[in-house]
Symmetry: C2
Subunit: 266 residues, 2 copies
């Protein structure tokens, strides 16, 4: 039986999603709780967005295969009870439809990155999920740079390379807004992201907002398809996975097949 689990976490005290011996990770904590409740020796979850250390998720999705029939309503209560002292909260547990794969079935992932560039508007309550910088940023220029990048492209410039894998992705949404309290929020959506891609895209926009790069550099650098020192990868703690979009149930299998073919090393 395959279960779909929707959940959220504060990434501050985690060494990222992926299980690592001796480290406090989201996957290690979630799989450990599932193994305890289901009395299984090992659980290996698969997740939509493998977040790095310090990165948060308000909407994350994983799947796990279990060797027994499970009552989802009871499992959600047991999980939240066993995880009550952890910064993880389980929103939903459901029986996954046939062919569902948390990693390969999504149509899109959406992230937000929060930046406070106004000394007079800082909120220490949200500091662990907001980047504080001292320069005032020009949001109009940042939006011009962001919009110029939309579409299906090779993102080698904006990625930490993984040998053999494609860096072609479709950037579907990339825009900046200011919240009422002055916080700048980037909304970034793609079918999938390469490693560090959001943090590089945001880093480039911040360089534009500071006047260190021109709007036209966003595309020019991307077309060079090579690593660059023109901007820096921005710190992880401002980043949150806020949505993973799946197709309707009878299309999740076909979508997973398509993504696997496109994205995996040949």
């Amino acid at each position: 039986m395959r279960l779909r689990i929707d959940f959220s976490y504060d990434g501050t005290d985690f060494a990222g999603w992926a299980k690592q011996p001796g480290l406090h990770t989201v996957q290690g904590t979630l799989d450990g709780a599932l193994a305890t409740i289901l009395r299984m020796d090992t659980i290996q979850s698969t997740v939509a967005g493998r977040t790095d250390a310090g990165v948060h998720a308000t909407r994350q999705t994983a799947h796990v295969d279990v060797d027994q029939s499970v009552e989802p309503g009871q499992l959600i209560r047991q999980l939240n009870s066993i995880l009550s002292s952890e910064p993880i909260h389980i929103h939903r547990v459901t029986a996954a439809p046939p062919g569902f794969d948390a990693r390969y079935s999504p149509m899109f992932r959406r992230y937000e990155y929060r930046v406070s560039d106004a000394v007079g508007n800082r909120d220490p309550r949200t500091r662990h999920f907001t980047l504080w910088i001292d320069d005032h940023l020009d949001m109009d220029l940042m939006n011009k740079a962001a919009t110029s990048l939309l579409g299906l492209h090779d993102w080698t410039t904006y990625c930490k390379p993984r040998p053999g894998a494609t860096r072609v992705r479709e950037l579907q949404i990339f825009r900046w807004r200011r919240e009422n309290d002055g916080t700048l929020v980037a909304e970034v959506q793609a079918d999938a992201f390469c490693h560090n891609m959001v943090r590089n895209l945001v880093g480039m926009c911040i360089a534009v907002g500071r006047g260190k790069l021109n709007v036209s550099d966003a595309v020019a650098l991307r077309e060079e398809r090579t690593r660059t020192s023109a901007f820096i990868v921005i710190p992880p703690h401002g980043l949150t996975l806020v949505e993973v979009g799946y197709p309707v149930d009878d299309e999740v299998g076909a979508r997973a097949e398509l993504s696997r073919t496109r994205r995996e090393p040949v």
Copy 2:
């Protein structure tokens, strides 16, 4: 020279505002930073809202008297530098107008209290400033109870008593809204608050929202002017001071005189 200081803090790791020997308090931390920068032996700040342990502030105001001329722009940079590892951020430092008193000049204080009553909508990033409860709350009933209380009244039922001091206050705003993510937020404004008043008012509304009290009990209990066990004082961590409203500069002195006369023990 009297300085007005506007600032914010995350109250999670503080034992409240008021200085206490051996404890990490907001006042102790702020006054210590000021004393270090200004090379003064003692600094004694006065604050608009003396928040309890665990209570936050996004807009708090204090005044301090200093024995030297101070350049506000430089002081704000020095304070934020010395406080960079503390969950305190200084927004503004200005020379206070004649007669200004952070505690007695305000026309109003406004607080917010955040409650998550929806298992499917919890955000672990904001858990330290949001109360999580398992029952679904009826916001319409809570708003009816809140509205029924508005006006100038004796709040003994809703206060932790302080001998000799009046418990008469003007409740100016009390209403509930739901944020986009489902979080319930109470907005509570008064000329001033007695000790624990917001947390008691919110505790009463939550009892109404759960169906444990009737809407009419809000006023009926207040009119009894005595401590009650009909509702509980709600935990501090959901509470944030979000605004302190001062009159225009040439009225701050008269306003302070009026408040002192009204509020102090005879």
